[in-house]
Point group: C2
Chain length 251, copies 2
DNA sequence: GGCCTCAGTCAACACTTGTACACTGAAATT
DNA sequence: AATTTCAGTGTACAAGTGTTGACTGAGGCC
């Protein structure tokens, strides 16, 4: 019960995010009028708007997933891939930055949802660190485009975008710290040191996640190697934390 | 003698890299003709070319330092800031990517030079971890633009650029691992685990370096806090590594 | 001195970009 | 049924982009 609660979002639920190229989705909306398969044959206006908005977001994410840099993606490009005319973009976002902030919120919400789900079901089973890392790895691979975006914009985005991402990251670290404390896993470590440990864990995981993202096909063996290595790293950190116990070595 | 040999480049030598706006430098070159202060009054042709090339590199770095995204910087923009006409760019680079690769090489060379210098002078004095971190911190602050660039392009650059940066990073990790081994600091740890420990150290430092970079003025107190926190992190990792000693806990 | 090399210049091209404006037609409201 | 709202369309323009080709003139070489 320790190191890696950060990775306890995600579980099974397979959403269709980032599965479509935006344009396909947009076309699907219009086809829906004559399509008897659709449960809601006529979409309400705001529902339609919501879907177009999502198409734009998905288009941007798809482009990022194809290797383009988010800050280099133009409004026209994302509009084209979403299957709408460029000027339509402004009905939903004033800016590409605003769209980016939307993506950050998206991922944040998904993460929080998973976090809550796992906590409610007390979903810790077997060896915790390993299963948490495994879950996190699957989550990253399943939302590859979102994470690609995050990694790109964490350093390369606008000021607001960077701030939003940084904020999201420190949220994880804090949640992690709080979990550790609540589970009385490091009784003798004071609050500041606890914060440090969680930062360290987050750093260890996030640094190597880049490798995972760049592995295009993410073959099962590679993924397994990644999990193994990450688990080892976390165990080492954990070992250090247990030895630490707030005794601060003399300066 | 342990954790942080990675940070043993840099020392004192103050170069003037990234100090000028490119255009100033370019102007200076032409003024040199009538300037009696210059030791070499008439510059050789290839020397002049070399300086213009450097102006272009500096201009790009300056723009990055001002908050622009490297992948979003145009050839025209960098040429203008370097004080040359856009088409002149092609006399030196075919691409912005090529210029980027040049920057990576630049930083790599500076790092290697420092590494060598510190090793030759056996420059470890006093408490090693702290002084290494301090040196690294100063180095980052002194070459802020270079590091800004590295952090941006590590995730957001072209494929070749990312590969080059990744390569440079793993070079550090390997050097670090080799130093640790050579100094017999972790005798009972096998090679693979050694690699892991150095990766962990690099991750811990590089993750938090972002904070350092975003601190615009990098006030001395903030810098000191950064050093303190980083030192604590590395000590914790080191503690863990000592407990580790290749005993692999049962799966 | 005279030719050659080539870094830097100038003008021009075909594009892509963000964004403003007037519009259309179906959903929502009255 | 008439009216309003507003997501999506189409056109248009100024600004910036990469890249071309022909040029200029000073440094290097004979």
């Amino acid at each position: 019960m320790l190191a890696f609660d950060m990775a306890t979002f995600m579980v099974v639920s397979v959403q269709s995010d980032t599965q479509f190229v935006g344009s396909e989705r947009a076309i699907a909306i219009y086809q829906a009028h004559g399509d008897p398969l659709d449960s809601q044959r006529i979409l309400s206006r705001e529902e339609k708007k919501r879907q177009t908005r999502q198409s734009l977001v998905d288009a941007a994410l798809t482009l990022v997933g194809q290797g383009e840099n988010f800050t280099g993606i133009s409004i026209r490009e994302v509009a084209k891939n979403a299957g709408v005319v460029p000027t339509s973009f402004y009905r939903h976002f004033t800016d590409m930055e605003e769209l980016g902030l939307d993506i950050v919120d998206d991922l944040g919400m998904m993460l929080r949802r998973k976090l809550r789900a796992v906590r409610q079901t007390d979903g810790y089973s077997g060896e915790l660190t390993r299963s948490s890392v495994q879950l996190f790895t699957d989550f990253v691979c399943h939302h590859r485009n979102h994470f690609y975006f995050m990694y790109q914009c964490r350093a390369g985005g606008t000021v607001r975008l960077r701030a939003a991402i940084r904020n999201e990251l420190s949220f994880f670290a804090n949640e992690l710290a709080s979990d550790i404390r609540q589970l009385h896993m490091l009784g003798k470590v004071d609050s500041a040191d606890l914060q440090m440990v969680s930062q360290l864990i987050v750093a260890a995981v996030f640094e190597s996640t880049t490798d995972l993202l760049d592995q295009v096909d993410s073959s099962p063996t590679f993924r397994q190697e990644f999990v193994d290595l990450t688990v080892k790293k976390l165990r080492l950190i954990w070992l250090g934390a247990e030895c630490w116990r707030s005794r601060r070595p003399a300066d």
